[in-house]
Amino acid sequence: MNIYQSEIVYIGEQAELFLNEGIIVFFGDNAPEELQEFAVLHKLNEILGEIVVGSTIELSGAILKVTAVGHVANENFQNLGHLVLKLDFATEPALPGDVSCSFDVKPEVNIGDSLKISS
């Protein structure tokens, strides 16, 4: 089932701080200016379901498999379009907001790239 489909519309100047550590901090494009500086923004569309272990995230052409989901991650996504994606293969979420993933090829995120989440 398709949970979410969107595209990357903005990458904040400080987003690199997180990207360098394998963390992609997403917010919807309605996020307050203060947070945009640190985030990768997606055009906010309707969210059709919950992200669970085993969900697939297609980002910038790379295929990521969800390996762990923190207990506030879906709430953050639903409320704020906010998703903290960690490319760390973790099977236990380190932090409550984390969505951890495994990957073959690390995504290189650019404006205009697509983001697709399915269960």
Partner: protein, 125 residues
């Protein structure tokens, strides 16, 4: 000139950091709530006790940005917002039980951050 009262915000039973004393001023007069879904009860209580204005920081940014915030109330899961507001000099209150983490962890101190906060941890100072 408004007369704002001071409040004390302590960490919850499983929280970290603080206690913080929040003293709004004419310059820093907004209790900014960045949780989605409107004003969180913790932000509302701080606003009610101090006399400052609760501001839905997810709908818009207050005029003056970080410099106009008496404090920020967040529901951060531990990585991003937890660091952004402390880094910008805004006392930060997380309703979730988080501890310093993420690339901005170095900015998160007991003096500017408190977590695990519910209405019970907010009192007059």
């Amino acid at each position: 000139m408004a007369d704002y009262k001071k409040v004390k915000v302590e960490a919850g039973p499983s929280g970290w950091g603080g206690p913080l004393e929040i003293q709004p001023t004419d310059e820093r007069k907004y209790v900014v709530c960045i949780t989605g879904g409107g004003i969180h009860p913790v932000a509302q209580k701080i606003a009610d006790l101090t006399g400052a204005e609760a501001f839905d920081g997810f709908k818009s940014s207050p005029e003056g940005s970080f410099g106009a915030m008496a404090c920020a109330v967040i529901d951060c899961g531990g990585t991003a917002r937890i660091g952004v507001y402390p880094m910008k000099g805004v006392p930060t209150i997380d309703i979730h039980d988080t501890t310093p983490a993420g690339p901005l962890a170095m900015f998160i101190k007991e003096e500017n951050f408190v977590s695990g906060v519910s209405e019970d941890q907010v009192s007059e100072a």
